[in-house]
Symmetry: D2
Subunit: 144 residues, 4 copies
């Protein structure tokens, strides 16, 4: 999965009580917010934030989501989210994810595609240059 | 609880799987969204909507919340939400709620106070006249 | 999408305030709970419930999820969820979904695969006979 | 608020995108999960966990909740949750909370009462001795 990685980040989240359901495990829909945390921290580690991106008039709605659930996550576990970019963003940006538990077992592999949208016109727009620049710079750093 | 009621409305909600937690019951924090459904339908039954209120430039954030939890709610139950207004709204509007299960058992009694806020200035504003008018008209209708 | 349908059901959900995010639209992760409502009502329309299934010792965790988001859903909209079964369930059951807004515009097409699991042993198990029987009976009814 | 404190803990949470609503601020119902994080970390800092408490057959449902909302919380803010115990737990345990933003402004003050329940009998039970002991020990430590 990590082949052809341009830039990756790893972060972690502790499972909250409200994220479980009566099956005693994390509700499948809550993984969407973990993926969001993953790409939020991916962008922060690159040296900018999604908050700044939005404030600059660019929104980034999710246009597709795929999740494969392998094992259950449990209350109070500290899960690890790997967020991986493999392709240079264009008008879209695609992330692969792997979520692991404390025993390093794969809980979920996922993929999302998001679209850069100009908030004023609601039209598609290209990935901002400053993100592409940070990406070029950091990709080199991670390669070392 | 229904004494001195100016206007009340009753609506129902079916408990969703994701609203349960690993205790096998509805997570306490999810009652906030049931209260929101209650006051949304209260306003709709009065002949307007919260959506229209927001579009007219008035927001209605919650400034206080109290919930007393008496019994648990379970997955797939159809719960009933009674939303009651007792005092004429000013710059604030206060609702009392009772949430009951299918056996008519009281699950939760609650109270919220919300503030009318001008979205442009973010300053407090008075309850719009058209809501007060609808309230006067409908109060009379409910009294009959 | 409706080709080769064995059994389908249609239900609707009104968007709640807490399901929106600061982009002003429904947060993508909340669609998972709409799909859950879809298949819950699909099973109810067949003459049984997911609650009964769980009480009989069979759980049905989601093992894969795919969503394609076409248009945004907004607060207070009444969305329609079509839930479609195309293949006879085995140890797995696969649903296709289409979610539409009040203008009949497609908001999201989705697919989930769920696994029948024996709650006592946590091992895969086959779809219960009574569900297969109801399916056979109702499929015929829908064909007429 | 910190007068008569027996034991307090401070933890922090970064606001997630899905916790905002279309008003552009954190949805009021989501504070319930922040309070849960607060008391989870309060118990962990005492040297045990809520997970272990549940595994020992004791559940701790919330029986009352009060929140006063002073200011809004925003996406990506790192909020601080102070969780304060003032009274020795009996069959109930009561927490006070203060949630602050990065500018140290008070966002929300809250109070919850939870009941110790024997999971086998579903009857009220007293706060386990080992928690009372940890409390006595740690109270002294915090006083120094």
């Amino acid at each position: 999965m990590y082949k052809n990685t341009l830039y990756k980040n790893t972060t972690s989240v502790r499972i909250r009580y409200n994220e479980t359901d009566q099956m005693g495990v994390v509700y499948y829909g809550n993984y969407a917010s973990f993926l969001e945390v993953g790409r939020t921290e991916w962008l922060r580690s690159l040296g900018t934030t999604y908050k700044l991106l939005e404030e600059s008039g660019v929104m980034l709605p999710v246009i597709s989501l795929t999740c494969n659930f392998k094992k259950s996550a449990y209350y109070d576990e500290l899960i690890t989210i790997h967020t991986i970019l493999k392709k240079t963003p264009t008008v879209k940006i695609e992330f692969d994810y792997e979520i692991l538990n404390e025993k390093n077992e794969l809980l979920c592999s996922a993929n999302t595609t998001l679209a850069f949208v100009n908030a004023a016109t609601m039209k598609p727009t290209r990935c901002p240059e400053y993100i592409l620049n940070k990406l070029t710079k950091n990709t080199t750093t991670q390669d070392k």
